[in-house]
Amino acid sequence: MKKSKLVVVGNGMAGIRTIEELLVIAPDMYDITVFGNEPHPNYNRILLSPVLSGEQAFKDIVLNPVSWYQDAGIDLRMGCEISKIDRVQRMVIDSDGNSTPYDRLLLATGSSPFILPIPGKDLKGVISYRDIRDTETMIDTALTKRHAVVIGGGLLGLEAANGLKMRGMDVTVVHLGDWLLERQLDTTAGKLLQQSLEERGLRFLLGQTTSEIIGNDIGEVSAVRFKSGEIIPAELVVMAVGIRPNYALAEAAGIYCNRGIVVSDALQSYDPRIYAVGECVSHRGIAYGLVAPLFEQAKVCANHLAQMGIGRYQGSVLSTKLKVTGIDLFSAGDFMGGDQSEEIVLSDPAGGIYKKLVIKDDQLVGACLYGDTTDGSWYFKLLKEGRKLGELRDHIMFGESSVGDVGVQGQSRASAMQDSDEVCGCNGVCKGTIVKTIKDKGLFTLDDVRKHTKASSSCGSCTGLVEQILLNTVGSSFQETPKTKAICGCTDRNHGEVRKAIRDHKLLTHKAVYDFLEWRTPNGCASCRPAVNYYLLSTWPHEALDDPQSRFINERAHANIQKDGTFSVIPQMKGGVTNSSELRRIADVADKYQIPMVKVTGGQRIDLLGVKKEDLVNVWAELGMNSGHAYGKSIRTVKTCVGMEFCRFGTQNSTQMGIALETMLANMWSPHKVKLAVSGCPRNCAEAGIKDVGVIAVDSGWELYVGGNGGIKTEVAQFLVKVSTAEDVKEYAGAFLQLYREEAYYLDRTVHYIARVGLEYIKQRVVTDTANRKALHERLLYALEGLPDPWAARVKGAQRREFIPLKVIA
């Protein structure tokens, strides 16, 4: 089929973003031609300020190099201006008179700076601040000239002023309003900003109107005169008093314009073949001049160009940041407030911090932050959601980290974010997209993430957040995401529902579960079957039958599979204590079966690595030791220190305590692995602070800690209770673990379970409610009662065929 022709007028951020979105969803739909009147490929206009101030070079801010257009098969015409649209013939005519036909036309002509209509506006040295050419002019001028005047104290003006100052010029900012950024800040924040910019050496003339720009006899600018009559010297004048949408081309073609090309919610103009995005459009009467709305428009427009017809652009709520290094300000929504609204204000002018939140009808409607903008995006999210604040109102000023109990170490903001939460406001990238891309493409560096998702590649203010997400995603690859959604694609039920059904209806087999809950697949998948198997076994011990085929190979073979298909064998060494006879047998087995590596583990045991599967049963038989369960979602080890028997600091017999716990918990399956440790004194040599259950001996008894985790994201265990006897330790630890076994979702470690239900709940069930604790402990003992050691059972012949190949064929 012949492709349709799409012509794009405007090679800037809005137009090219639309093309990028389009190529993602409909890569082969159009032959695309792009016209741009600048002699450059698409670059990041937002980052002109860092280029001006010398923090970045032009090549750093190019978004789409020429090769990108080539790779995407796009015909790029740089430095080529379109002078006319012929809507009848459906073609555009460029300034050289060449015509290019289109089936769909996308106008992304952007905007132009507004030039004050005052005498002297055409003098040499009077410029605007819009593109890379203006920026280069400023950089060159700064090399030879001294006095610069910036007209306009808005975002662009201040960024220009700051950049020129950093280039060594004397800069005066002239502003009509009574304070700076009057459209983004309230008076107080505006004054704070002025103060800190003055400290950097900028000068301000507020409430002043420029009446004339004075030139010298060779037509160069030399001074600026104000209405008040005052004159100040100027060798460079930058006008930054606003922008005007470029819609003359469209208007000349008879397309309806009203201070911009008028578009519908589908970004379609009054000519259905012509779409428009960016600063040139007027949507519901508003022309946007910031980048975030443009990208929202691009997404919707691309969808309609791809003829998918989904998505409406319904306008944007704006937030603002100033890209001046070292100055943090943020504002969004109705930050001025008024009679109908309330304000919460935190003001510390000496410390340079000012925060104002505007609340109306129990909703956050505006925010203005200066000095500390950490919570800007959180406020912005609340504002966009229009959520009722309720109790949040008491804490909202203190930021997101003050809300809720987020664990001892204050979980990072990134991990608390929802997948749908926006991370990069410039490029409209959500956390979920970033995480998915990191996982799918196996990304490890910030640069890669930027390349693949564009997150933090524009203004860069979300860089820290993106790094956190990267760290969390790569670092916690063994931690499953919270189980609020369906277990897997086989069902719509979540973990909680499946578990409840198994309990309430006494389901005893996999088939019963799949039938009762109407699974979509006949026998589940590799995700849900192990979970269901665990729920069956833990809910109905001694009644439900274990299904080896629903277990991951490690639990089926009772050894850990390695990357070459061999296995590792870790025998049980309760409390890390062994003896010469066991060591001798381990040595003999290692020799006889030519085991390539013998290693001491972190859990105080010995690992025999590289055992062939068919040797496993013989290895176990000759070791004559119990399984260490180092391969399962199960009890792993109880790590101990030597305690009072030998150590001069030891206060209790920690080794014996560890052995007693490991004996009690032998063969225990659990939602995820369970590790314990017992230390004989608060020096804590057994590292009990990062275990699922950590026991620390003190002179008067034992302290119990729960929910620790020593994985990549280290979690410190939380204090549960202090008890006096060894029997108590077993009862409390056992009860806690049984609660975890009964209520946690499959593949949740204790830390995740506690984060879900809260430590208070655990304390109530295990510490306060004595009867419940005893009942839990008893249920644990009942579940474990009579369970055979899996290695011994297999030595006796259980599951034999698992370990024997069918036949050796030469």
Partner: protein, 107 residues
């Protein structure tokens, strides 16, 4: 050699656990023989197209096996990895005759 002659008798269907597999060791590469819940038998080279993981050690569900190393899902019928992964494990013809499994190795 005719095709009739090259069927190698392997085992009884019951020797393979339902939703499980058995390994056939072979000098030129091991073969995994799978049995589904409804007693269909499939045979694939015991080598995941991803990183050569032993498919025989995976979990069988429907007519798919999930590789134990990195959870690629391999279709038992075609040997193809499930999208978005791309790769294919070699298939071997199998037949069941009177409750016995035969493998075609000359293929």
């Amino acid at each position: 050699m005719t095709t009739q002659n090259s069927w190698t008798p392997l085992c009884a269907v019951e020797d393979i656990p339902p939703l499980g597999s058995r390994l056939v060791e072979r000098a030129s590469g091991n073969i995994a023989v799978f049995r589904t819940a409804d007693d269909k038998i499939f045979a694939l080279l015991d080598r995941c197209p991803h990183k050569a993981g032993p498919l025989s050690q995976g979990i069988v569900h429907g007519e798919t096996v999930t590789c134990p190393l990195h959870s690629w899902q391999i279709d038992l019928q075609s040997g193809e990895a499930k999208a978005p992964d791309i790769g294919c494990a070699r298939r071997f013809p199998v037949k069941v005759d009177a409750g016995h499994v035969y493998l075609e190795l000359a293929y």
